[in-house]
Symmetry: C2
């Protein structure tokens, strides 16, 4: 699978680890001198590339990138200048919020620039979604590859997800779904939505039944965003694992190719973490591969996946992209969004687990679309200059949000248990993959 | 669930770890002083019991019992006097073989004594199997509890398994199956047989398809032992995980309650092991709980499980028994067999992975039963006194084995793909659980 972007530091790190293992096993297994020499040469060259990119020597126990905090997932005191972003913690010391440009450099992803946005417009014949125009989706991996395939009439599919930690979802949670619905509409592709109720059971003080019931409740909010039932499959991990002939097989394949050292480096796990947490990243990785869904894609393994998600989920997919070529699958492409800032300020994100940080209202794209870019620009100017006061700004926000909430709640009420059940039934979607 | 035997050192160790976590969370969570005091009192008392039993203080990072070797699963040079037994390695420096009495003490299990054998005879009304009479099954956990339940007309079920590492099985592999068939016959209970093809994929250089095909081939040898198709369910993990509404849920439950520290202590895993190996013990544990098989037991969680297996599998079930009460399930009971000595001598066991160590022939109980205990005793006397020579002994063995092989092979030939498929289809068994 060609990869149009430079390898991330983590991918390089992992390649060195793999190559090192290969050299050791060749030496142990009486391989020919030529074979060993050539593997060693490759190893040395990888280490040189790593040093050039990282600015320091490769150290086996010290993976690069997002530094894992040693305790409670908070940032180190000595790293006060660094933003901290992983699937459980988003924190910065800067009142301006996370520096997303720095994050792109640190994660090794690519910026969504004007050129890419124009290309999406040309490919789809649709005006780019305002989340693209306004930089809410700001970073990507391999989106050009997806567009190449699309322009050559090759299929792809969308994958996004939700960790159902409570019954209620907040506005921030809907960002990826609103955008994903737009992608589904303009590209006309199938979509799978993973509800990681197993993850929430493992991380929170919940029973299996509670976690599953949150998955179903959250599915209603997601469905209320307007997804096409004929092109969308929503699944609870706890349920679907026992219903799919492909999902567990991919989970085991991924689990064979990721060591504890690696998840320790990527996610900051420790020896005191339960083995469920340690192996969970494979469960979030598996839907990136089309044969996890035999009811939709049969045994096709070559259909590329595009994942729209908030940037804090990227560690899962850096790991996935590292494993993919080693198990013969294409790497998933990604589109990353910023976070929805918490009500207390931009230092952290809205979190369902902290009720004070979030507006627990939800809505889809329709009305947001009617606010036009010029009006927002005027507000920005007026507020910056002082012509508009904070109280007036809040009032304007409330005027936008209140009808949004009311409409979303109305649409959510229409989502019956039968509709949820159909969305969550493994089935053929109306899309033909040859 | 009452436990009729004293807690093993490992169970005590794990209880201390759990209690310590409880104390910490009470302190963090603003619990009342009384609550905290009482939890601390319990912790101190557990630590005192541990010191009394272990002869040394409890140390959080130093689990007791079967010492995990630091590398390659071989015994330490400094432990030349100790037998080493875990699921991957059986080794002793003594030419007499493993000291099974010592193993009982070290593992904290109970000896199968004359009294227990007599009780089995009374309960079933059948002459005890010669594997019991001759000490091939020599150790147990909670077998008296199973008999209590049986005498009170309460149901139980049998669970055993096989790691399909190659197409061929050897005589040693059949020991648990021959005995399990007898248990199924005399107690008239359902039986589940796990084929851990996922384990073999993770540990060996195999593809998923190879591992699965070995599971099916091995199932034929197992079926040829004569199991009742109406009371027996054989399953491949790779297959059944995607077919059961209960299996994965129990796997996740177990995975939430076992830390990496614990599996490191029990199985000797290291940071370089893949996350699949690290989480696998939960997959072997889950069939110990009846609601992993909703097609057989519906949602019943209280049906006790009895596991006949070779003693090297005990670490999995010590872990399972530690977790069971914490997730509200009964502890599985166990019956442990010795190993079949390798052809090179009694220092290690027959291993399918070492072709020189094993006789790759198989057979079931029928003809073995016809050799009566007195004749074996005569051979023992003659060979010990020198009246019988080694050549003659070998000749006698060959005369027993050759027809056994031939008969087994004949029965195996009769096992059609359709029969295997039926054994491996999740279905109701002919046994009524209210």
């Amino acid at each position: 699978m060609p990869n149009s972007e430079p390898a991330s530091l983590l991918e390089l790190f992992n390649s060195i680890a793999t190559q090192g293992e290969l050299v050791r096993s060749l030496k142990a297994g009486n391989a020919s001198k030529d074979e060993i020499d050539s593997a060693v040469k490759m190893l040395v060259s990888l280490k040189m590339s790593y040093k050039a990119a990282a600015g320091e020597d490769y150290k086996a126990d010290c993976p690069p990138g997002n530094p894992a905090p040693t305790s409670n997932h908070g940032p180190d005191a000595t790293e006060a200048e660094e933003d901290f972003v992983d699937p459980w913690t988003v924190q910065t010391s800067s009142a301006k919020g996370i520096d997303y440009d720095k994050l792109i450099v640190r994660f090794g992803s690519s910026k969504i620039d004007k050129e890419l946005i124009n290309r999406i417009e040309r490919a789809t014949g649709q005006r780019p979604h305002h989340f693209l125009r306004r930089g809410i989706f700001f970073s990507h991996r391999d989106m050009n590859q997806v567009l190449d395939a699309y322009e050559n009439k090759k299929p792809f599919y969308l994958y996004t997800g939700r960790g159902p930690s409570s019954e209620a979802m907040h506005v921030g949670h809907l960002i990826p779904f609103i955008f994903t619905k737009w992608l589904q509409d303009v590209f006309n592709v199938p979509l799978v939505i993973q509800m990681t109720d197993d993850e929430k059971y493992l991380w929170k003080d919940l029973t299996l039944d509670q976690a599953y019931s949150y998955a179903v409740e959250n599915a209603k909010d997601i469905i209320a965003c307007g997804f096409d039932i004929n092109k969308t499959f929503i699944f609870s991990d706890l349920d679907y694992m026992g219903m799919s002939s492909g999902f567990y097989k991919n989970v085991v394949k991924i689990q064979k190719h990721v060591t504890f050292n690696q998840v320790k480096g990527i996610f900051g796990f420790t020896d005191s973490d339960c083995i469920g947490k340690i192996s969970f990243p494979a469960i979030q990785a598996a839907p990136s591969f089309s044969n996890s869904f035999p009811q939709i894609f049969r045994d096709r393994t070559d259909i590329q996946c595009l994942i729209p998600c908030a940037i804090d989920q990227d560690p899962y997919f850096r790991m996935t992209r590292d494993v993919a070529p080693r198990i013969g699958y294409p790497k998933p492409a990604l589109l990353h969004s910023t976070f929805f800032p918490a009500l207390q300020g931009a230092q952290t994100k809205m979190s369902a687990s902290d009720p004070n940080s979030s507006i627990f209202l939800t809505d889809t794209a329709k009305q947001i679309k009617t606010k036009d870019d010029d009006k927002l620009e005027q507000i920005r100017k007026d507020y910056t200059s002082g012509a508009m006061l904070t109280g007036e700004l809040k009032k304007a926000l409330i005027e936008v949000l209140q009808p949004l909430i009311a409409e979303h709640q109305a649409r959510r009420k229409e989502v019956t248990d039968e509709i949820v059940k159909e969305f969550m039934t493994p089935r053929k979607l109306s899309f033909d993959f040859q």
